[in-house]
């Protein structure tokens, strides 16, 4: 079988050992795979659609974008357990007690291409009746092109609340809970004001026309990874999951409406 070429975005140095480990595991189960690293999701999406790579490891934004650009001809292959039911948190200092009180206040948000730190929660706030035109948005457009993968903009949001340069902020529940459980938030007077509805996160997308047997080989190797296997465990920990799960599409419906409403699709 022809070598499967998988695209991933190099948002962190650990992406190299992750994919070298994945390649080794694929080889162990008899699937010839190689990877190509991109500097941003836009270039990766384009390469997938042009057939330069077979499969892309996509953010939710890149996922719905390639589906739309290919008119539904890409195929969704699998996701992390942690990609399901992701939520965002609206966090605030004591001065803000309700969502409505965000109006007239400074709201720190993450990068404009971060689904969890900006796109979805802003859409959700609007649905909750918050008049965003009356909210002063403090935007941290850090690491653009990485779609929020680095978490940088979410840490920027936390920091701005601590420093007092914002009254409230938006952050993904993963970063929030990790910071909270590690005791790095306690005593700083920051609380969760609200939690958004759930949405789904990353997805492996196959290019239009990728042969079935190659798709099956990819899925067989992917779902074979086991948390209790030390070799796999190292990769899974770095990639932030315990188990690969089959794809599902329901979790992206809200994102699609957010992008429609914000007119934020890449042309």
């Amino acid at each position: 079988m022809k070598t499967l070429l998988i695209g991933a975005v190099a948002y962190d140095a650990k992406v190299v050992p992750i994919w070298e480990g994945m390649r080794e595991h694929f080889k162990d189960v008899g699937v010839d795979m190689d990877f190509a690293l991109f500097s941003n999701y836009e270039r990766q999406a384009l390469s997938l659609l042009q057939g330069h790579i077979d499969i892309a490891w996509n953010t939710p934004l890149a996922h719905v974008q390639v589906q739309r650009s290919s008119e539904g001809r890409t195929r969704s292959l699998g996701m992390r357990d942690t990609d399901r039911d992701f939520r965002s948190k609206v966090i605030a200092k004591d001065s803000v007690k309700t969502l409505k009180e965000l109006e007239g206040k400074r709201l720190a948000v993450g990068s404009r291409d971060s689904v969890q730190a900006r796109i979805l929660p802003l859409h959700w706030l609007k649905e909750q009746g918050v008049d965003l035109s009356r909210v002063q948005i403090v935007a941290f457009d850090s690491d653009l092109g990485k779609h929020g993968d680095t978490g940088r903009s979410e840490y920027d949001v936390l920091e701005s609340l601590e420093k007092g340069t914002a009254d409230a902020g938006i952050i993904g529940d993963l970063v929030w809970t990790q910071e909270l459980a590690a005791g790095r938030v306690a005593g700083r007077g920051i609380q969760v004001l609200a939690t958004t509805e759930p949405f789904d996160h990353c997805m492996f997308d196959a290019r239009p026309g990728l042969e079935n047997d190659r798709i099956e080989a990819f899925q067989r190797a992917l779902f074979d990874m086991d948390w209790d296997n030390p070799k796999h465990r190292r990769i899974l920990e770095m990639e932030g999951l315990r188990k690969w799960l089959p794809a599902r599409e329901d979790g992206y419906v809200k994102l699609i409406s957010a992008l429609n409403e914000q007119n934020a699709w890449t042309k």
């Binding site: 357990d81 942690t82 039911d85 939520r87 948190k89 529940d173 993963l174 929030w176 809970t177 990790q178 910071e179 909270l180 459980a181 005791g183 790095r184 938030v185 306690a186 005593g187 609380q191 969760v192 609200a194 939690t195 948390w227 209790d228 296997n229 030390p230 070799k231 465990r233 190292r234 315990r242």
Partner: protein, 404 residues
């Protein structure tokens, strides 16, 4: 672990201020699928607990508001980590150590998923003598202080000949102890933590060697007192190729049992007689005391080595042949060597007490008796280890003339 349901009161604690320290231990005791009620007076927990559950793969079932500000959160326990309980009993040594329990001590559950550890001595029969713990304890009680416990100021001004002999002997002893420090040290990080008593006993043995090196070198240099050879009137100690080759040949072997056998049973065993001889013929009390105290330590090392080898031999008869060929290989490498001349001469002068020819003749006789004594005791120890009388005699003769 318990099934069914459980409840934990967390008061006003938040997720970031201690709640997890109460919730996680209860979760640990619950079986997968059991329901835990978290009773909380903190409304923030409504936001944070469901997110934590997602992160930890528990199922957040919902919230019942109890009135008077009390929330009852219900959580269904997700899958447990998989625990390896093979070393849960602290007093039971596994016959075969797992490669996948890392540095976890005996008496713990170990989460599965660790990478393979670098420990290679995985059999209790060949790694963990039953006496290890006892020998470690004895060693601890027997530690001594070179500065405090040796009456250094009782070393008189000996004749240059006597002082030169003592200096040569102790320099030679230090050289040997350096080998006794380095050679076993390579095995320390290969002993799995489930056999930690062996590692502890070995570590203490290394500490003993470090102390001996300090004491021996201090005695060897006592007469020089920072003076060069010409000023002290004493010969600078010599380090010969035959000593160096004999000791370096111990580094070429990377088998724990073979090393222990050659170093501790044969080498340090032979040293016991040498140290007795030095103690007996010491020209002063300080020198005798160094020899006496070192000998007590060495006796412990020999005892540990014998216990180690005996236990291994009792479970693996093929080991007799392996040990014999290891000794033969080393003897082959060292063929044609005798007792290093400077050491030979110094030991005779020591026993003679002076360079008077008649005294030297007595010293020569004493030295001859020492060699006989060493051989007889080697045979005794080999018999004790489990060798046949014929094997014991053969191996005793093949041992290096360098003593170690």
């Amino acid at each position: 672990m318990t099934g069914g349901a459980a409840a934990v009161h967390v008061g006003a604690l938040g997720l970031g201020s201690g709640l997890l320290a109460l919730v996680r231990p209860v979760f640990h005791r619950l079986t997968e699928g059991s329901v835990l009620a978290v009773l909380s007076e903190n409304p923030q927990v409504r936001e944070d607990l469901p997110s934590w559950c997602r992160l930890e793969r528990h199922e957040y079932l919902g919230l019942e508001v109890q009135g008077s500000g009390l929330d009852r959160h219900l959580i269904r326990r997700g899958p447990h980590p998989r625990w390896d309980k093979s070393i849960a009993n602290p007093s039971s040594l596994p016959e075969v150590a797992s490669r996948f329990t890392g540095l976890a001590p005996r008496g713990s559950w170990v989460e599965r998923g660790l990478p393979s550890s670098p420990f290679t001595f995985l059999s209790s029969a060949t790694t963990a003598p039953n006496e290890a713990s006892k020998i470690y304890q004895q060693g601890l009680l027997a530690q001594w202080d070179v500065n405090r416990d040796i009456p250094w100021n009782e070393i008189p001004r000996h004749s240059p000949v006597m002082e030169g002999a003592v200096s040569q002997i102790f320099s030679f002893l230090a050289e040997n102890e350096l080998a006794a420090l380095y050679v076993p040290a390579q095995y320390l990080p290969l002993i799995p933590p489930v056999y930690v008593e062996t590692a502890q006993a070995l570590a203490l043995q290394l500490a003993d060697e470090a102390r001996h090196i300090e004491a021996f070198l201090r005695r060897a240099r006592a007469s020089f007192d920072n003076k060069a050879e010409e000023d002290s009137g004493c010969q600078t100690p010599l380090s010969t190729v035959s000593t160096g080759r004999s000791l370096l040949s111990l580094f070429g072997n990377h088998d724990f049992i073979e090393s222990t056998f050659m170093l501790s049973v044969l080498g340090e065993g032979t040293f016991l007689d040498l140290l007795s001889y030095i103690e007996q013929h010491s020209p002063d009390r300080a020198t005798a005391e160094i020899a006496r105290r070192s000998k007590l330590d060495e006796a412990r090392h020999v005892h540990f080595g014998l216990a180690h080898v005996r236990q291994a031999l009792s479970t693996d008869p093929a080991l007799f042949g392996r040990l014999e060929s290891a000794v033969r290989r080393r003897a082959g490498d060292l063929a044609g060597q005798g007792v290093p001349a400077p050491v030979h001469d110094a030991l005779i002068v020591l026993a003679a007490g002076s360079d008077d020819p008649r005294a030297i003749s007595q010293g020569h006789l004493a030295f001859g008796e020492l060699l006989i004594q060493m051989r007889e005791n080697r045979i005794k120890r080999l018999l004790h280890a489990g060798f046949s009388p014929e094997q014991a005699a053969r191996l005793a003769d093949l041992h290096t003339p360098n003593f170690m």
